[in-house]
Amino acid sequence: AGQLQSCKDENFLHTPSLMCRLNAIAKKYGLENVPQDVGSLVSHATQELLRTFVEKLSVIAEHRLEIYKN
């Protein structure tokens, strides 16, 4: 049988500053403080966005080197 293991979900972004910033934006719209899980989701989404960028940049940089080689 498979074994389930869990590890602590550490946020990619600095949580206190992120929550501070999210609360400031929410306040601008007249909304209450933002729940922690929203902060966590925003953090994961930002990580995902940057990962996609870095992956593309890595391919592009390699391609540029190929041109130099020829």
């Binding site: 934006i25 929410a26 719209y29 929203v38 930002t46 966005l49 940057l50 960028f53």
Partner: protein, 90 residues
């Protein structure tokens, strides 16, 4: 009243870790890291502002996970698993 001091939400070290995860031999210029940090900043503002507008639209006074999810899916074509259990996505 004094304006709140802007604090960085993203550490340069985190970006370096991400780059190493993608390709352990990859080297990235400081300029590129700065650009990525700027992109992250703009992304956060965009996503959270849109989520707040969605929360207001459904006449709620709190922004919820589903507001963020809807914007991420519709505008960024992004689905982050593990948040909210109301419906399961493939």
């Amino acid at each position: 009243s004094s304006a709140p001091q802007p604090v960085s939400v993203l550490d340069r070290r985190r970006i370096e870790e991400l780059v190493k995860e993608v390709d352990s031999l990859e080297q990235m210029d400081d300029d590129v890291e700065d650009m990525l940090m700027q992109i992250a900043d703009d992304f956060i503002d965009n996503v959270v502002s849109a989520a707040c507008q969605l929360a207001k639209h459904r006449k709620s006074n709190t922004v919820e996970v589903k507001d963020v999810q809807m914007h991420l899916e519709r505008c960024w074509n992004m689905w982050i698993p593990g948040f909210g259990s109301e419906e399961l996505k493939p």
